[in-house]
């Protein structure tokens, strides 16, 4: 049961979008999935409660410092995502400490990358702390570039420079990025999954779907490697 924390202390980096797209996609592929909504604004809970989606995804709201560990232990699911708020809080750092994998969504802006650095340093320190009692404990993470130009559109020089900086700093990154797409905004507006928006006019839905499929493939590949490693 991999626990996947989605974290960047910068607000609006794409955490909730990434969480919802991946969680609903895996659910649609037959996985049992839950999202712990650990953002006081409860964006995923709102999506589920006030929407008409038929997804099998379970959303658990009201996750706080005091009940995080207990709530995690209660999850009978194959995949558990934690959508975190855009701030540096103990709820965020504890979620990282308990996670099997951390996704750090980053927009191509200097502020986002700097704030992502905070999340990454926290992951590395939490890993060190955990290794004191369990030397084999790892908290792997990947940076995910979000709101990137759709394939074929020009890539900004800012983005190229930031990608080069991330590379040079030896920070691991998803090969797939999440493009800027109307359909990804629409999932929150319509409160439906991508697949359920088939009949709505929300930009290039096929391309959006393919993007999420690729990201999910990459994520599952990484999680498989992690499981193999921890079993070894």
């Amino acid at each position: 049961m991999p626990v996947i924390a989605v974290s960047n202390p910068k607000g609006g980096a794409g955490k909730s979008t990434t969480t919802l797209l991946l969680a609903t996609y895996l659910a649609q592929q037959g996985a049992s999935v839950s999202v712990l909504d650990a953002d006081p604004n409860q964006p995923i809970m709102d999506w589920k409660k006030n929407g008409l989606s038929k997804t099998t995804l379970q959303v658990i709201g009201g996750v706080r410092e005091a009940n995080l560990m207990e709530t995690l232990e209660e999850q009978p699911h194959q995949f558990v995502f934690i959508d975190l708020e855009g701030t540096a809080s103990l709820l965020v750092s504890r979620s990282i400490a308990m996670a099997d994998f951390v996704i750090v969504p980053v927009q191509a802006s200097a502020v986002d990358v700097r704030q992502a650095g905070k999340a990454i340093r926290a992951v590395r320190d939490e890993e060190k702390v955990a290794q004191r009692s369990n030397p084999s404990r790892r908290i792997p993470f990947r940076v995910l570039m979000t709101r990137t130009p759709a394939p074929g559109a020009p890539v900004s020089s800012v983005q190229r420079q930031l990608e080069a900086e991330i590379e040079a700093a030896g920070i691991p990154r998803f090969k797939t990025s999440l493009a800027e797409r109307m359909a990804f905004k629409a999932v929150f507006v319509e409160r439906l999954t991508l697949a359920e928006m088939r009949d709505l006019k929300v930009g290039n839905l096929d391309a959006a779907y393919e993007n999420v499929h690729q990201l999910a493939e990459e994520l599952i590949g990484l999680l498989q490697d992690i499981e193999k490693e921890s079993a070894a």
Binding site: S89, V92, M98
Partner: protein, 115 residues
């Protein structure tokens, strides 16, 4: 098209999807959770500015020597501001140092200048 009438383009996407489903099926639903030393984890995070953002009266009194309202006594409104990176960093660092939420930090600054 090859002589068997098979179109590679049409057969590959479903194959991709089914392999993802198969891979997913290999993940077990329940696994014992990592044991986490919360106090040590919190201490490590504090160095990077990760502090409690939850309002608890006991913690407030301890940290700030004054009580904060757990429930706002007046209606709240939303303010979104765009500011320079340096001003952003100063504000966030100030709030972190003072262990204040952003709205409390803003109120504190206004209190300070009598605004």
């Amino acid at each position: 098209m090859n002589k068997f009438g098979l179109l590679d383009d049409e057969t590959s996407p479903p194959l991709l999807t089914s392999s993802l489903t198969e891979k997913i099926a290999m993940f077990a639903p329940v696994k014992p959770r990592q044991q986490v030393d919360i106090a040590a984890a919190d201490a490590a995070a504090a160095q990077h500015g990760f502090v409690s953002r939850e309002i608890s009266e006991a913690a407030d009194t301890k940290l700030l020597g004054r009580r904060r309202r757990t429930v706002p006594s007046e209606p709240t409104r939303h303010l979104a501001i765009r500011l320079s990176s340096s001003a952003y960093d100063r504000f966030v660092a100030y709030a972190d140092r003072q262990k204040l939420t952003y709205h409390d930090a803003l109120a504190r600054l206004l209190d300070t200048v009598g605004g």
